[in-house]
């Protein structure tokens, strides 16, 4: 009912606007084309300058309103560099924005039609044109220089002592794999994936280096102040690992593993205190459109201390053990032979 009411109001608004517009056209013709044009020109000239003033005030106000709501201090060391770069770019573009917008609307206002004025024939000026080719070029060189300096630092090789976690995206969730005590990820093959048999990543059970791999969903535990390298995969379509607080983002592409690394600065608990928000969590979001559940593809990143991480890892059971409970080393004596699993047949 209210929708219908709204539509009716809209229609009425249209009719009124139309009638006014029509009437003003008649009045214009009667008043004389020239007079009418001059009146309209003055109104629009005034609106130009009004738009400029109100617009700049609006920009300032919007800034005040939202600067507390965008991200605070970066939670990773790479993020600090991105933030620095952001401030440099905001400063340079901000100055250009204000100057050019003021010139645009002020010129429009100042040089509006007047019977007394004749336009100035000014087809070109090489000196001016060289100035505004060279100045932007220099400004952009500065930006490219800073940008690439940080870019290579961020995308460079991870330190050798970085911890590793494999992240795999799927419709619609995340799977995390830890290499276990041996620090090596076991081999996997996508045709081995069998959710029912507890093999959500397609691990090849014949590969002993995978026997201690821990596979968990939806929560990633990492250690504070220690570089972490993520090896990113996708099981189906393109996803993207987005970590806003760490200022990180990398696509998850089926068939082509990608990597990123960073060093978290604060534990989740420290962030809770820092922000005064007991519910704070680091979130991992999917940033590449992946289907109808795209917006629900959330995981939580728990940044913990070294000891807490050891404690957490001790509680995890390897995927191999979960898939073959009878092979649990803590339940029975060590086995010598590897299990033969038919699902690996035909894999090289």
């Amino acid at each position: 009912m209210s929708t219908l009411f709204l539509l009716l109001i809209l229609l009425l608004g249209f009719l009124i606007t139309f009638q006014i517009a029509k009437a003003s056209e008649y009045v214009g013709v009667l008043k004389g084309e020239k007079k009418n044009f001059e009146a309209n020109n003055r109104i629009n000239g005034f609106l130009m300058i009004a738009f400029l003033v109100l617009g700049l005030i609006g920009v300032y106000w919007c800034n005040e309103l939202y600067r507390g709501k965008i991200l605070g201090e970066s939670a990773s060391k790479h993020g600090e560099q991105i933030d620095t770069m952001m401030y440099i770019t905001i400063a340079i573009t901000g100055v250009v924005f204000v100057i050019t917008q003021i010139l645009l609307f002020w010129f429009a206002y100042k040089y509006q039609y007047s019977e007394k004025r004749t336009a100035y024939y000014f087809p070109h000026d090489n000196r001016l044109e060289i100035i505004w080719t060279v100045v932007p070029a220099i400004a952009l060189t500065v930006l490219v220089g800073f940008g690439l300096f940080y870019w290579f630092r961020i995308t460079g090789e991870a330190p050798a002592d970085a911890a590793q976690v494999e992240v795999t995206g799927k419709q619609f969730g995340w799977i995390f794999r830890y290499p276990g005590k041996d620090g090596v990820f076991g081999k996997k093959y996508y045709k081995n994936i069998d959710e029912a048999a507890g093999n959500s990543l397609g691990l090849i059970w014949d590969d002993p280096s995978g026997h201690d791999d821990v596979v968990v969903g939806n929560e990633m535990y990492i250690e504070v102040l220690k570089p972490i390298k993520l090896i990113i995969n996708s099981r189906d379509v393109v996803h993207d690992v987005g970590l806003v607080h760490f200022r990180q983002k990398m696509d998850a592409v089926p068939g082509t593993p990608t990597t990123m690394w960073f060093t978290p600065k604060f534990t989740t608990d420290e962030m809770k205190k820092k922000l005064g928000n007991p519910d704070f969590e680091y979130e991992l979001s999917c940033d590449q459109m992946c289907g109808k559940g795209h917006f629900t593809m959330r995981a939580v990143v728990k940044v913990v201390t070294h000891d807490e991480l050891i404690l957490w890892k001790a509680k995890q059971k390897a995927a191999y053990v979960l898939a073959f409970p009878d092979k649990d080393p803590s339940a029975q004596p060590k086995i010598d032979t590897l299990p033969k699993n038919p699902s690996t047949a035909g894999i090289n």
Binding site: A21, V29, N44, F51, T118, I193, V237, G242, S285
Partner: protein, 606 residues
């Protein structure tokens, strides 16, 4: 005297200039079909493109209103939506995820290709190239007609995809595989995706037929005296646009064909190592999903210049005419458009900084991308200088031209953020990107198009649009566009991902509920203002104030030397000869000097 008579009191005089003019011989009688449907007259084809584009713009805009409704009011129930759209798409009056993603995909596809490419280039290249160059028609009127009808077929195919049971394509306007390749991964990737690909293929054909025609007309059919450097900037812009299209659309088509093979031919161009959640491991191995992105963006990036260059051309022309001053730095304007056109092909991978692209390769694309800012800056400063010391008439077209420059500055500057790979890590696929490309491509493109429509409507239909409605339309559109897109930058800086149905489940992104409601409300108001324009447009075709002078804006270019309502062939009798460039305004104490006037004995060419 009745009002109608007041308005059209001078109508009688108009017939003097409005001669009917099938005088250049070989013209047979036109029927309704040959005049309005299968017309080979470039002016009629331009109108066909324009009106088809407008219909798409309304549909595409309506789609955005629907998904903004969801984003602004995620918890509300709009019963009317279920009544109209059925319970599959809008169960309980709430937009369902599949429908939401179909809407954003169609909104993007329709606006980018059908409105801002077909509607913009199609309209103004067809209308202005022969008229401003002094040609009777396009080099091949037949291909030109086919260009429109392929566009029409593409439109019908795309429209039909809205009505299939599994819905239209819903993998985003970029349609990245594997999502777009696998019906099992998404409902929209079933028949809807096939229709999308077929429609886009037809669109590419239309665009190529049109583009080749524009290029050959510009190169071959210029009237006597119309050297390339005497052409108005509109023509230069449309020329570069056509070249970009001809060189890049075929690459897109090849990408689509491979996608079609992957969908139905069992090939693995884009597919590898895929396990679908329903429990199926696909046999495809060794393909690269990233290959598609390269092919797509090889068109996709030039595409944004295919949109913005014609707008730049229209704005340059409108601005010069209404500032009563020559465009400042004509050669620099042409040179910067050339630079933009060349660089357009060398920057595509800046859409792919976070796909795992080699960081060194990324750095090359950073450099090339930020280089584009230089010609863009030149253009902006030249427009500003064109206004300086002018004698500005705020016709509706001029208002839109000024609005265009404002928007282009704002959106261009945020491009410097996104083109810098370091910042792109944080901003990629957030609302910052939405704000950036809507401002610099969407809003700027459409403002440029409006400038063109308001300026050349009198030439198209021999009548004026209503000024009061035009002013209302302009101010609501400009203010509204800033109110919608400016705050989105802040959402993007907060990392808020785009293409989310609902942010309430997220701790990091749920702080903008109020802002999203505000944006949605403004979006609806702006959409209503566009309907006002549409009404003004169609009303004025039939009832607008008549044009009674041949050259109502006091412009120098050739289209205003043609009769008020030119017939097929444009000029009765001889085609005019050109003696000077298109921008002799305020020269030697004269308001303007038409291009057809020979240089005076002691007059210097610009």
């Amino acid at each position: 005297m009745s009002n109608e008579a007041t308005l059209h009191g001078h109508a009688a005089t108009s017939h003097d200039a409005d001669v009917h003019h099938d005088e250049h011989g070989h013209h047979h009688k036109e029927t309704f079909i040959t005049k309005y449907v299968f017309s080979q007259d470039h002016k009629m084809i331009a109108k066909q493109f324009l009106i088809t584009g407008m219909i798409w713009a309304i549909l595409g805009g309506l789609m955005s209103v629907l998904f903004r409704l969801q984003l602004g009011y995620p918890d509300a129930h709009f019963q009317i939506l279920e009544d109209l759209l059925g319970s599959k798409w809008a169960k309980g009056g709430q937009i369902q995820p599949e429908f939401y993603y179909a809407l954003v995909t169609m909104h993007g596809t329709v606006l980018v290709f059908f409105v801002l490419t077909g509607g913009l280039s199609g309209t103004f290249a067809n209308f202005l190239i022969p008229l401003q160059l002094g040609a009777r028609d396009m080099a091949s009127p037949m291909l030109n007609m086919l260009s429109y009808w392929f566009f029409w077929l593409a439109s019908v195919t795309m429209l039909s995809s809205l009505f299939v049971e599994t819905g239209p394509a819903s993998g985003g306007w970029t349609s990245y595989p594997p999502l777009s390749a696998l019906g099992d991964a998404s409902e929209g990737s079933k028949i809807g995706m096939d229709l999308w690909i077929i429609s886009m293929a037809l669109f590419v054909v239309s665009s190529l037929l049109g583009g080749l025609n524009y290029i050959s007309t510009i190169l071959n059919l210029r009237t006597k005296g119309m050297s390339m450097t005497r052409m108005p900037l509109t023509i230069w812009a449309l020329f570069f646009t056509a070249i970009l299209g001809v060189l890049s659309f075929p690459v897109l088509l090849s990408g689509f064909i491979l996608l079609l093979f992957d969908r139905h031919g069992g090939t693995s161009f884009y597919l590898s190592d895929i396990y679908i959640a329903s429990g199926k491991a696909l046999p495809n191995e060794g393909g690269s999903a990233i290959l598609y992105q390269h092919l797509f963006w090889f068109l996709g990036h030039p595409e944004v210049y295919i949109i913005i260059l014609p707008a730049m051309g229209l704005v340059s022309e409108v601005m010069s005419v209404n500032a009563r001053k020559p465009i400042f730095g004509y050669m620099a304007m042409v040179g910067s458009m050339f630079a933009i056109a060349v660089l357009a092909f060398l920057v595509w991978a800046h859409h792919m900084f976070v796909t795992g692209l080699n960081p060194f390769l990324g750095s090359v694309f950073v450099l090339l991308t930020l280089l584009i800012a230089v010609p863009s800056a030149i253009k902006v400063f030249n427009w500003l200088t064109t206004l300086w010391k002018g004698n500005i008439r705020f016709t509706p077209a001029m208002l839109f031209a000024i609005g265009f420059v404002s928007m282009f500055i704002s959106g261009g500057l945020t491009g410097i953020f996104l083109g810098n790979s370091t910042l792109d890590i944080q901003l990629h696929d957030t609302y910052f990107v939405i704000a950036h490309f809507h401002i610099v491509m969407g809003v700027s493109g459409i403002l440029g198009m409006f400038a063109g429509i308001y300026h050349w409507f009198p030439k198209m239909y021999g009548r004026y649009l209503n000024n009061t409605m035009a002013y209302i339309h302009f101010w609501i559109t400009l203010v509204g566009a800033y109110l919608i897109f400016w705050p989105m930058h802040y959402e993007g800086l907060a990392g808020m991902p785009r293409r989310y149905l609902d942010y309430s489940g997220w701790l990091s992104f749920n702080q903008f509920g109020g802002l999203n409601r505000f944006i949605s409300t403004v979006a609806m108001i702006v959409f209503a203002a566009q309907l006002l324009f549409v009404f003004n447009f169609f009303y004025s075709i039939f009832k607008g104030r008549r044009v009674i002078t041949q050259n109502p804006w006091g412009a120098t270019t050739l289209e205003w030397t043609a009769p008020i309502r030119p017939g097929h062939g444009n000029w009765p009798g001889e085609i005019p000869e050109v003696h000077r460039w298109a921008y002799d305004y305020a020269k030697d104490g004269r308001d303007f000097i038409p291009q057809t006037e020979p240089l005076g004995s002691n007059e210097s060419a610009h």
